[in-house]
Symmetry: C2
Subunit: 346 residues, 2 copies
């Protein structure tokens, strides 16, 4: 780790502790934590993928309501999901933290544990970072590094008129889970009201919010099989993220609301709360599913292979010319897809 | 740039503006700002170097006293200097910002301008990052990516007993410049006292503080010529940074205080203020000079080549066995080198 800031001795102890606990040898790693820079070797022609996120206390998370482990876990998933959307294999991680006095060392370790729990299934190695004091809130910056073979990656650009739009998994679960958690926190003290739907559904939605999955294997499959013409991960919600694909590809899109994949739990939640499940699916962020476009010629290949792998991939609409705009069709009626931006934490 | 956080429309406008102004094509760059990850190609065996820094308002900089352009410039130099210490060529940059409401868009552009001014001489390309709101201070995270040929880099480990210790440039200037600035700010309003030394010296020291140089060419020369057995950049001050080299190499060190390279301006400042110039040289951080160790066999080669290149490289001491500790010799008297940690901003 670079030792840029004036570091009190406990900060060096933290770096040593993190190095001891989470740093390990990995293929290609020449120098991990402990020098001016981390060093990694490439021997074959390759594409490197870099994604970075800055998370701010009070904007992306609330230390009063979320456990540090969960904050770390979800921060890692957000970055892993970016690499999933490129079809890349995650490899190395750099973590920087600005830590206020009030945050204890054990909280910081818990945060790292959450991060590494999310990364471990993919063999991601912590190779560096930075730590600093903070006079205000806790801030984290994550840089995740991945690879693909040369000339083989999924981009936001590349969607063509007539391509079919697909999403993985189900949509809106994370937003429903987030609202359930918020409601429970605020009501716990004075009433015991529960939504009139099953504990199983409740647990499913909360789990989807607190322990989302990054669709790494699905992204790699779409990439190596050359199945997708464009891809993005659903972090800001379908409405916002589809817009990015359309902008970068210079196209429009038609979403068929009846096709949006909804979990039974999300349907039950929407019914119990009297809200539209389609609305949850369109505006809900942090589902970390993949949205991608597929040439009509590849439709059968895609669906056959998805079935063989056990991946849930759902057709939700079609790429249209740019002048069409971004529209949603509901029972034959077409109207503009609402332009919303998901608020990750309130 | 990854669009992780809920981004208000002005944030997208900022990303577009930054992309338009600072993003450009570069060798090996496949995808810059505008997708889930930045993509870079490698075709030959190579070592990649990654360094990252998190800068916090009130810890590393003060928006009331420092111009955003200067903050950006110095943040870039800190990272460039890390790569200089590896002997690497800087290539790509990722910048993340958490921006409080009070900070204007033009301040943010100025910050980017400062960053890119520092990076331009080296052809570094901005390839990605993240932006977020902040409920408290301004936070920046920089990740700089560089390369060296395979199996050729400078590390902190590698110093051997008997190796000679060298530094580039002069030491303590930045700290003197920092103190001059602080004094002027606090006094300007009520008195016109100036230190009794020349305007030229004053300007030199302030310039060394506000516009430091990263020793990229010097690092590359030491690396490709296999001249240094270990290296680090002086960001925390000689005392702290020499300690890192000794720890990683498992050795001790003897510094000869008479040999420490001091600029005429730093000497004049120390005299005028009645402080020890050696103390400034040992404890002063942010000089961004290189400290490196050289086998005695290579001494003449190093000094001859340095002279030919016009690099100022000064012998300041010798690597000793670990049990010797880290000592400083002054006029025949040896005592432990004071253990200090430089405070970058007060």
């Amino acid at each position: 780790m670079a030792s840029r800031a004036a570091k009190p001795l406990q900060e060096f102890a933290l770096i040593r502790g993190v190095k001891g606990q989470f740093s390990r040898h990995a293929p290609g790693l020449v120098q991990g934590i402990g020098d001016d820079a981390a060093v990694v070797e490439t021997t074959v022609p390759i594409w490197w993928h870099f994604t970075t996120d800055l998370l701010a206390e009070g904007i992306h998370f609330d230390l009063n309501s979320a456990a540090p482990r969960s904050i770390g876990y979800r921060a890692a998933i957000a970055n892993l999901s970016d690499l999933a959307a490129m079809g890349a294999t995650p490899r190395y991680l750099l973590i920087s933290l600005a830590i206020p006095k009030q945050v204890s060392q054990s909280h910081i370790y818990d945060f790292y544990k959450g991060l590494m729990t999310a990364c471990r299934p993919y063999g991601v190695t912590l190779i560096g970072g930075d730590t600093s004091a903070s006079k205000t809130g806790l801030f984290l910056s994550i840089t995740l590094i991945g690879t693909t073979t040369k000339r083989r990656a999924l981009f936001r650009h590349g969607a063509k008129v007539g391509d079919l739009i697909y999403v993985s998994g189900t949509l809106g679960d994370s937003l429903a889970g987030c609202r359930l958690l918020a409601q429970e926190t605020s009501r716990r003290s004075f009433e015991k009201n529960r939504l009139p739907f099953s504990r199983f559904h409740r647990q499913f939605l909360i789990r989807r919010h607190l322990h989302p999955t990054a669709r790494i294997a699905e992204g790699q499959w779409l990439n190596t099989g050359r199945l997708a013409s464009a891809a993005i991960d659903l972090s800001d919600g379908l409405s916002g993220d589809l817009r990015h694909v359309c902008e970068e590809s210079g196209v429009g899109a038609e979403v068929e609301s009846d096709h949006l994949p909804l979990s039974p739990a999300c349907r039950a939640y929407a019914k119990a709360r009297g809200v539209s499940p389609v609305q949850l699916a369109i505006t809900g962020g942090e589902d970390y599913e993949l949205l991608f476009t597929v040439s009509p010629k590849l439709r059968h290949t895609l669906e056959r292979q998805a079935k063989a792998h056990g991946y849930r991939m759902t057709y939700i609409g079609t790429i249209r010319p740019r002048r069409f705009g971004i529209q949603m069709t509901t029972q034959g009626k077409t109207q503009p897809l609402p332009q919303t931006s998901y608020e990750h934490f309130r």
